[in-house]
Amino acid sequence: MPGYANNPPRNSHFPQAEVPAVHLQDVSKHFGSIEAVNHVSFHVVGGSIVGLVGSDGAGKSTLLRMIAAMVRPSSGTIQIHGLDAASHKTGIKPLIGYMPQRFGLYLDLTVEENIEFFMDVFGVFGAERAKRKERYLGFSNLLPFIDRLAGALSGGMKQKLGLACVLAHEPKVLILDEPTNGVDPVSRQEFWGILGQMRQEGMAILISTAYLDEGEQCDQLVLMHKSRVLEVATPEAVQSHYSSLEEAMIHRIQEVDEGLMHEQFGL
């Protein structure tokens, strides 16, 4: 894929940790009679990027929110570094960083005040503060804009500042819900550059995306459709004999839809 050539190379073999950073076992969530997530199991190990791809309304956001301990699963277990997400909510919060599609920045605070506020909340104090501010704002090329109000930043810059705020407490698990939606290609490339660096440092990254060129950058893809996981495999395996990842995905989803039709109407 053009444009991402200077990213750090993807790990060719998975670094296997003893306890996976994120472990999902048979996780389901329903809102009333609506199934949002249906018996999902997979895991994410440290130092890898797992991409969550699939159709709109497949339940990706609900799944990510459950992993971030914002929504309690109806059944099944989610473990973050061996800690149960539902029962150890306070214990896992420092371990995770969650960034929704529209990161909740304080638009009336400056870039610096935003990142400092999130460091305050996560208890990052002392010499670490200046170091991390420098590092994560530097990553996102935001250091020249340190005194600018967050509301005056462009869309891509806002997302990068959001990422810097999420990274400032150095989480072990990064959960990103379509973070690059509507972001220009250059900013997206920079964004993925940061993610690649975080992967090298051993962070477990779970990202949902609608851009399949981003999907190809992941170590593993989780393909979701209609609240179920269709496949967990490397991008190459998902693509198999199709000419592109996109084509492969469309084909897989149509297959499932046809299968459902046969089931329902006995065709």
Partner: protein
Amino acid sequence: MSWLRIRELVRKEFIQLFRDKKNRPLLIIAPFVQLLVFGYVLSTDVRDVRVGIVDQSRTRESRLLMDALNANRTFRITQYTNHPKELDEVLLRRKVDLALKIGPDFSERIRKGNSAPVQILADGSMSNMASLRIAYTSLVLEGFNQRMIEERFKQRLDYGKIDARIRTWYNPNLDSRNFFVPGIVAILIMILSLLLTSMAIIREKEAGTIEQLIVTPLRPIELILGKTIPYIIITQTLMIIVITFAIVWFSLPLKGNFFLLIAAACLFLLSTLGIGLFISTISATQQQAMMTTFFFILPFFMFSGFVFPIASMPTVIQWLTYLNPLRYFLVIIRGVFLKGVGMEILWPQFIAMMVLGLIVFISAVKRFRKRLD
């Protein structure tokens, strides 16, 4: 619970509050404008009553009666006509507040020792003012009678008679401003604390930052404290400034202990901040919160005894006013300002306000926490 996190939340809140230029007039100018406007406008004092007169008698006695009225600072004879019809007309057009008709046989009757009727017409469309004006007029006529009798009989007539010596305590001049201005301080605190708290939380909801805060180690109780402490500080500061201003500008007497007022305001804030929190859980946008806030403010205002005396309300409403925290706060603030009383008298109000405040605040916190999870 981490006080460090709460402190940073409070600091952030202050930065946001003072950075937003729209907030400055709300915080600084509005309280003073309200105090000045209410202080000058809200008044039930009877002063400068314009009187119209038809004198068909035109005698020494009728002139004495008019002099007696004119001599009283409250009355000012502005219309003098010969036609009773004309007098009705000026009363209707609100050129005068009170009309006096002296019949042609006025002096004759007095001289004969009979009673001489004088017709007094008052504009009853403002019922409370009319009754006060009539009462004042009766007082003047009473004095006039006394003089006439003394003149005619030239002897002491006051033996075996009750001599009422009335002293009005706590507000000797019955200045209604002394009654209203302390109440305005209470109303200001109520409006500001209700509005600011609900707005502060709704703002985070609208910006999506509250969702961001949920995934941080910030606990709901820390968020609540971080969101209420700034407004406790602001309303208390404003209260001190506004009270000082009221004392200096309106020469309002502060007879009691100032710190008792601060303590009472803290208990009162428990209720208003609780309601502010509650409003933030049922509103999605700032407009909704604003509307809901006024939905609460109006009954609190009406059923508090701020303007309309609770004793004149229907019994059922009177019982309902016991649920109104403003009712107690008004008793305290007026008691401390005008009577100079302390805890030994005001403890029932303090306890009522504390119980009410704790119930409201704790249930609001519970609801708020449930909403966050």
